[in-house]
Point group: C2
Chain length 797, copies 2
C-alpha cells in the first residue's frame, strides 16, 4: 500500500489528473475519449476513472457517463467517491464534509487498490471538479489539496471567449505549485480559435495540445438520440491520431520519468561535487533522488528501499516513497516545502523587481524586512541591517564589524598585532575562511590550507537529560573550578537565570571566566576584538546545548570588564546601547527564528547582542538570505570622511528582492503562529506545572513531547538527550569510534532511512555520535507522534 | 509628459487598471459604477475612462456605455482608442495591428493628456478586454503588455460556477507579474455564493471585496426600458456604501504609496547599513527609491529629479521616472527585470520542492544545471560542479580546491609554510576574507583587520581605444621588459592569439613571466598553490581589459613549467585534462555568461581552466547562486579514506532548487539568443570587414556600436574606452583626484542620473575614474542608440 503521505508514481499504473481551465470545458468527455482511445491503442491495459467528488444529479454523474460510453467494457472501471446533487461548488454542499486528509487518504487507497488489481500496465484518470482552484469539500483549493499526490496533469483548456486567458492562468496556477502539465486538450471553435493560440503557447513549453471537435448538441427530450449521437462522436474521436499520439507520448514520458529517477543518482555521483562529502567510497546507493517535496516530506526514489518495499508488497510497484525531511532541509526548513504563500511572495517580488541593485538604492521588501527584523529582534541595541547571502558571509560581516569597532575604540594598530575572537569550543560560523578562523583548530579545519584559528575558545557546561533528569554536565577539565555535574528539577529551572546567577554555581562561572580572561589578556598579553557565540546551542559542533547561565555570565563578564581588553580605552562606551568590553556577536543563523522555540535565541540568555546574524529559517526554508544586525555604536566605528573607512563589503545580489520578500512573509508567518498560540499544546506539555504559563515568563518548550524525551533518556545506548523548539538531539554512547563518523549514529540513521515496513523513511544526518531530527515549525502533532514511536524503535528500546 | 518607458504614478491622477477574472464578468458595468460613485463622493474630481481596445458592435462600445450612463456628466470622459466589430479575441481581428510599443505609447500619451487637463485630483479607469491573459492585438498577453505601466489593479471577479477558480488564478497571474491588486469587485449570486469565499480569500491578503447585485436582465427589443432599468440600477449602486468605502480606501492607498516612496530613502538612511558605502555624509538625496523594475528600467522616485522634472513640466506631477539600470543591477542583469519566464521557473521550483537538502541527495534542477554547465563550458577538462551561494563563496571553494590539489601533488606541509596564489594586480574575487587574501594589498583591504594578501600579483598590459586606435598599453614599470605601447589594427586582431604568441611581443611576455616566476620561486623561495585570474577583464579592479595574449601566456607558462613550483613533483600530471604547474582558476563571475559577448570568457584566452567559477548572470539577474566547476584531477585530490580529506565546505541552501531552476532557464535562454543570431547586427558591426563572420572564428563584439566607441575615444576628457559584450567602460582623464573617488566620474554619473530633460535617468556607478554602463543581454537597439547619444552629451563632447 502506498504510504499516506506519498506522491503517486508506480511502474504499471500511469496516473493522470484531469484539471479544467474552467468548469464546463469537457473534462468528462475528454476523460471518456482518453479511456476509449487507451483501450483501443493499448488493448491489454485496464483504464481506471476516478472522480473523487461530483456534484449534480446522480443520473448525470460523470462516472456513469464514462461507464455508459465505454460500453460496459470490463477493462474500464469508473467510479465516484462522493456524489452531491446540487451543481454548485463542492464546498457549499457538504453537510459534514470529510477532511482534506481523509479525502486524500481515501483516494490513495483507491489508487492502491487499482495498482493491486492488475499486474499489466494500466491508466488512471483522476478527474477534478470545476476549475483548478475550485474549492473542494473543506474549502481548500483543489490545486492545493491534490498537490501532495503531484500527478502529471492533463489540462482541459477553455475554447470559449476568454478561454485563452482562463487556460493560461490555470496553467500558471498549476505550474507554480510544481505540477507538471503534460498535455492540453480542448474543443475546437472555428470562431474563437483559442486552439491555435494555446497550441503555440504550450508547444513553446514542450506541451502537446490535442484539439477535437465539440460533442454534438443535445436534443431536448431525445435521450436515446442524444446517446446515439454521443456514441458516434466517441467512436470517431477515440480513433483520432492526435489523441493516439498524446497517449503514446504520455506513456513514454511516464517511462522517461522513472528512468530519470533511476539514473539521477548515478549521474550525480559522476557530475556533482557534494558539500561535506568524502567521495572516495560514495556510490549511487547513498544518494537519494528527490522527485518533489511537500510539507515535511520529500518524495524520494531509492533503489534499495524500493526494492525492499517491492519484495515485501508483492505486486506493488511504487516508485516513490515519502521521506521525512529529518534534517529540516539542512536546518533551513520552517514553513513546509512547497508552501504556496512563500512561492507567491517569491513570484511577486520576481515579477515586480527581479533583482535591483541595492547600493544607493532602496526597495520596499528590503526596507520592510529591515524594519520587521529590528522591530522584533532589537531590545534597544540593534539599529542597522546589513544584507548578505548566507550565514557564512553574514558572520564574515559580523566579524569585520566587531574587530573594527574594537580597533576604533581601543586605537590599536592591527598591522602590528592582530586581535582574535573569544568563542566557545565546538563553535561553527560557516565555511568561508574568515569565519573558519573564528572556530578553534581541529581535525577538519586544519586540512584547509589557509585556516588559522585566531582566538580563544572556552569549554563550557552542557545540558542534557539523562535517565529522566536534567543534568548540567561540567567538562572534566573544568571541574576543579566549577565542581561536579548538577541535576536540575526541570528544563524551565535551568532558564531561571536571575536566581541562578547568584547561586554558588553562578559565582563559580563568573570567577572562572574572569580568571581565564585575565590570564589571556594580562599574563599572556593576548588581544581580542570580539566575542562570538551561537546562543544556547552550538549546532554544527555537535548540537551542544550550553548551560544558558554560562553564556549569560560570559557576556556579562566581558561587558563588565572593559579594562581587560585595553588598559586605557580611548573612548568610553557612550550610552546604554553601546557595546562594552568587546562587541558581542550572536550567531543566530541556526538558533534563531523559532528553531529553538523562540524568535531569538538571545532571549534565552537574557542578553542582547551588539551584532547578530540571521539566516537559514529567515526565509522559511526557501532560498538563501542573511541579515547581520548591528548597534549604532558598532556602525559608528565605520563613519569617517574616507571611503576606505566604510564597511567595504557587499555581494551583487545584496538584499535581493525575492529573498527579502520571502523572508518578510516567513518572519510574519512564524510570529503569527506564535501569537495565535499554535504551539500551545506543546508549550503546555513542557510547563513546570502542567497548565497555564507563569505570567510574563518566556517559555522553554519543544514540539517533541516531554514524556518521549524522558523515555529516550532511559534507552541503554543513549547517553543524553534534549529537545528545544523543533530540534531533538540524542547523544548516543559512542563505542570505540566516537566523533564525526560514529557507527552507532550511522546505524540509527540507516534504520530510520530504510525500514520498508514503515509508512515513510526519514532522511537525516548525524554529527558524530549525536543524531538529531529536526522538524519544521509547521509539523503536525500526528506526524511528531508517529516519528517518536519510530525513533524509539530505531534506538532499539 | 511621462516618459515612454515609465510606469505611471502621479499625485493628482489616480489611475487604476480594471482587469477581469474572465470575459463577461461586468468590467464595464463596474467601471461605470466606479465612475459615477467617484463623481458622487469626490464631486470636484474628474473621472477618465479609457478602453484601449474594444471589440464588438460600435453601438455597444464600452466607452459609449460609460458615457451614456454617466448622463453626459462633463466631468466623466470616456474614450476608446481602437474599436473592432467582432466580439472575438483582439489578436484575431486586427488586419494591421499596432505594435505593443506603439499601443503602450499611445496609452501613455492619453494618460499624460488627462494629467494635463486637470490640476485637481482625478481618477482614471483603464479597462482591459476579456481576461487577464487575453491576447492584445499583437498576440501578447494583456497582463504582460500592460505590465510596464504597473497600474494598481481592480479585479472584477467571476460570480459564476467555476468563478472562484477563475478569479484566484487570475489574481495569481497578476500577482506573479508584480501587479498590486488593490480591490476586487463582483456581482452577488445567491446560488453560487462565490463572493463569500472570494471575500475571505482576498481579505486574508489585505484586499477589499465589493459585492453588488447583478444588473437587471435585458428585455428583448426593449432598448428604452433596458436603459431605464440600467439607469435606476446605476443610481442605486453608485450610492452603495461598500463602493464608497472602496473609493476612500483606494484614495488613501494612493496617498500612502506616494508617502512611502517619499519617505523610503529617509528610513533607509537610518535603518540600512549599505554595502560599500561610507555613511558619514550619506543623505536621503543620494538614495534612489525603486518602486519596481521592468526590462532595463527601474521605476524610481527621486526627490531631486522629480522636483526638477516638475519645474520643467509645469502642472505635471509625475512621481516616478524611468531610470536605466546602468550597472546591470550590479553586474547580474541579463534577461531583463521582471522576466516572466524566470519568475515562472522560480515559482515552479518553489512549488515543486521548496529547498531540499543537497548533501547525499539529488534533484532535477541541480543535476540538469550541472549537466548544462559542463556540457556548454567544458572543453574536456571540467567535470564536476560544486554549488554555493555567490561569487565570493564560489571563489573560496575554488581556492580551497586549488591549494589542496597542489599540496596533494607536491606533498607540502602547509602548516610549516603556506602557499600563496599568483594573480594579477587589480584582481578581485569577493569580500569574504579568504578570497580578499587573493587580492594584492591596497588602501581598502588593508583596513580589514584579518586581511593578509597571500600571493604575487603581476601587473599587465591593458587594452583600450585612444583617439580611434586600439592600443595595448604597457605599464611604466614593465617597459624595460616589454617595450612601448603597441597599436593594433582592430579589436579582432588583438584576439588573434596564435600568430601573436610567436610575435616579438609574445616572446617578450613569455620571457618576462618566466623570469619573474623563477625569481619568486627560486631566488625568493616562495611557494604558490594556484593561479587565479579573471579572464580578459578585471571588473571591480577598475574594468581593466587585459591583453588576452598576456593572460594566455601566463597560463601557458605556468602549465609548461611545473618544476618551478616544486623541484620534484611527487605525482606527475596523469593526462591531458590534468592540471600542470599550478591549478588554474578562472573567476568568471563577472566575465562569463555572455557579459563580454561569449558564454565563457575563457574562450578569449584560448585556454580552459582547471577550476572555474560562475555566478551573477548565471541566474539571469534574479537571485544568488554560484557554481564552481573543477576538473577530475582537482577533484581527485580530495579523495581518501577519511572524511577530513574531503572538501568540507557547504552552505545550507547549497544547490537550492529555485536558483538551479532559474539558472538553467537563464543559461538556455542566453545560449538560444546566441544560436538564433539575436546579436547578429551588433556582431556584424564589429567584424574586421563588415559582413559575414570568418568561418570558425569566435567573434569579439559589443552591443555598443563601433562608431560610437570610436567617437567617445576622441572626447577630450577621455583617456581610453572599450566595449565588449554589454559592457562599455570609459577611462576618464583624472585631474588631481584619481582613484576610487574620482570627481570626473562622479560628474558624469550625476549628469546621466539627473537630467530632467531626458526621457529617462541612468542609475550607474563608477570605479575610480572609470565610468561604465552595463546593458543587459536583452537591451534593444533603440535603447542603446539613445543611451549612446546621452553618454556623448554627458561626456561633454
Amino acid at each position: 500500500m502506498p504510504a499516506l503521505l506519498g506522491s503517486h508514481l508506480s511502474r504499471t499504473l500511469r496516473a493522470f489528473q484531469i484539471y479544467g481551465a474552467n468548469t464546463n470545458v469537457g473534462k468528462t468527455i475528454f476523460s471518456t475519449i482518453l479511456a476509449k482511445a487507451s483501450r483501443r491503442h493499448f488493448p491489454a491495459e485496464t483504464v481506471f476513472y476516478l472522480k473523487p467528488v461530483s456534484t449534480g444529479a446522480p443520473e448525470d454523474a460523470d462516472d456513469g457517463h464514462v461507464a455508459r460510453f465505454t460500453d460496459a467494457d470490463a477493462a474500464v472501471r469508473a467510479e465516484c467517491l462522493l456524489q452531491y446533487r446540487d451543481p454548485v461548488s463542492p464546498h457549499l454542499v457538504a453537510v459534514e464534509p470529510p477532511s482534506d486528509e481523509s479525502l486524500l487518504a481515501t483516494i490513495r487507497q483507491r489508487i492502491a487498490t487499482y495498482g493491486c488489481r492488475t499486474t499489466t500496465p494500466s491508466t488512471l484518470l483522476l478527474e477534478t471538479a470545476g476549475g483548478v482552484h475550485s474549492p473542494t469539500l473543506s474549502g481548500t483549493s483543489q490545486a492545493d489539496l491534490y498537490r501532495p499526490l503531484r500527478l502529471p496533469v492533463l489540462l482541459v483548456a477553455d475554447p470559449r471567449l476568454g478561454g485563452i486567458s482562463a487556460s493560461i492562468s490555470a496553467f500558471e496556477s498549476l505550474h507554480m505549485r510544481g505540477y507538471d502539465v503534460e498535455g492540453v486538450l480542448l474543443f475546437g471553435d472555428a470562431y474563437y480559435r483559442n486552439d491555435g493560440y494555446l497550441g503555440e503557447y504550450f508547444a513553446k513549453r514542450g506541451i502537446r495540445t490535442v484539439v477535437l471537435p465539440p460533442p454534438p448538441e443535445r436534443v431536448v427530450g431525445g435521450v436515446e438520440r442524444d446517446r446515439e449521437a454521443m456514441r458516434e462522436y466517441y467512436e470517431t474521436q477515440c480513433a483520432d491520431e492526435g489523441v493516439r499520439d498524446m497517449l503514446v507520448e504520455l506513456e513514454s514520458r511516464h517511462a522517461r520519468r522513472i528512468d530519470k529517477l533511476a539514473t539521477m543518482a548515478d549521474e550525480a555521483v559522476s557530475t556533482i561535487w557534494y558539500p561535506f562529502t568524502q567521495h572516495q567510497h560514495l556510490t549511487a546507493d547513498a544518494i537519494t533522488a528527490i522527485d518533489s517535496a511537500h510539507g515535511d516530506f520529500f518524495q524520494t526514489y531509492n533503489n534499495t528501499n524500493t526494492r525492499a518495499a517491492n519484495e515485501k508488497n508483492k505486486g506493488d510497484d511504487v516508485v516513490l516513497r515519502p521521506t521525512f525531511d529529518g534534517s529540516g532541509s539542512w536546518w533551513t526548513q520552517g514553513l513546509g516545502h512547497a508552501n504556496p504563500e512563500l512561492t507567491l511572495a517569491a513570484a511577486y517580488a520576481a515579477g515586480r523587481y527581479g533583482h535591483v541593485m541595492f547600493a544607493n538604492a532602496i526597495h520596499e521588501p528590503g526596507l520592510e524586512l529591515a524594519k520587521t527584523l529590528l522591530g522584533s529582534l532589537s531590545g534597544g541595541r540593534l539599529s542597522r541591517v546589513f544584507y548578505s547571502d548566507n550565514g557564512s558571509t553574514g558572520c564574515e560581516v559580523a566579524v569585520k564589524m566587531g574587530l573594527r569597532a574594537s580597533r576604533a575604540r581601543y586605537a590599536w594598530d592591527h598591522t602590528q598585532r592582530e586581535a582574535g575572537v573569544i568563542g566557545l569550543k565546538g563553535s561553527y560560523h560557516g565555511d568561508t575562511i574568515g569565519v573558519m578562523d573564528c572556530a578553534e583548530p581541529g581535525v577538519y579545519n586544519s586540512e584547509v590550507e589557509w585556516y588559522r584559528g585566531r582566538g580563544h575558545w572556552f569549554d563550557f557546561p552542557k545540558v542534557g537529560m539523562k535517565k529522566g533528569r536534567w543534568i548540567i554536565e561540567v567538562p572534566e577539565e573544568m571541574r576543579d573550578d566549577l565542581g561536579q555535574d548538577v541535576a536540575m528539577e526541570s528544563l524551565a529551572d535551568i532558564f531561571d537565570l536571575q536566581p541562578r546567577a547568584n547561586s554558588e554555581l553562578g559565582k563559580k562561572y563568573q570567577r572562572y571566566i574572569l580568571k581565564t580572561l585575565e590570564r589571556l589578556t594580562q599574563a599572556e598579553g593576548r588581544r581580542f576584538g570580539a566575542l562570538i557565540i551561537e546562543p544556547l546551542v552550538l549546532g554544527a559542533g555537535g548540537m551542544l546545548f550550553s548551560d544558558p547561565l554560562f553564556q549569560h555570565t560570559l557576556v556579562a563578564t566581558v561587558r563588565a570588564n572593559p579594562t581587560l581588553f585595553s588598559p586605557a580605552p580611548t573612548t568610553a562606551a557612550p550610552d546604554a546601547t553601546s557595546w562594552s568590553g568587546l562587541p558581542v556577536i550572536f550567531d543566530e543563523v541556526f538558533t534563531g527564528m523559532y528553531r529553538l522555540g523562540r524568535l531569538s535565541a538571545a532571549s534565552f540568555l537574557q542578553a542582547e547582542a551588539d551584532i547578530s546574524v540571521h539566516a537559514k529559517l529567515l526565509t522559511g526554508g526557501l532560498l538563501p538570505l542573511c541579515a547581520t544586525l548591528a548597534s549604532e555604536s558598532v556602525f559608528g566605528a565605520f563613519l569617517g570622511d574616507e571611503k576606505k573607512d566604510a564597511l567595504l563589503h557587499g555581494h551583487s545580489y545584496t538584499a535581493h528582492a525575492v529573498g527579502c520578500s520571502v523572508a518578510r512573509e516567513s518572519v510574519r508567518a512564524l510570529v503569527r503562529m506564535d501569537e495565535r498560540g499554535e504551539w500551545e499544546a506543546a508549550k503546555r506539555d513542557w510547563r513546570r506545572e502542567k497548565g497555564e504559563a507563569r505570567k510574563g515568563e518566556a517559555e522553554v518548550w519543544s514540539v517533541w513531547r516531554r514524556g518521549f524525551v524522558e523515555r529516550v533518556s532511559f534507552v541503554a545506548d543513549v547517553d543524553s538527550v534534549w529537545a528545544l523548539g523543533s530540534v531533538l538531539a540524542v547523544n548516543l554512547r559512542a563505542g570505540d569510534k566516537a566523533g564525526y563518523s560514529s557507527n552507532a549514529a550511522q546505524g540509527f540513521l540507516q534504520e530510520m532511512g530504510s525500514r520498508a515496513s514503515r509508512e515513510w523513511n526519514v532522511h537525516a544526518r548525524a554529527l558524530g555520535n549525536v543524531v538529531y531530527i529536526m522538524a519544521s515549525q509547521t509539523t503536525g502533532v500526528k506526524t511528531i507522534e508517529v516519528m517518536q514511536e519510530e525513533i524509539v524503535k530505531a534506538l532499539g528500546a
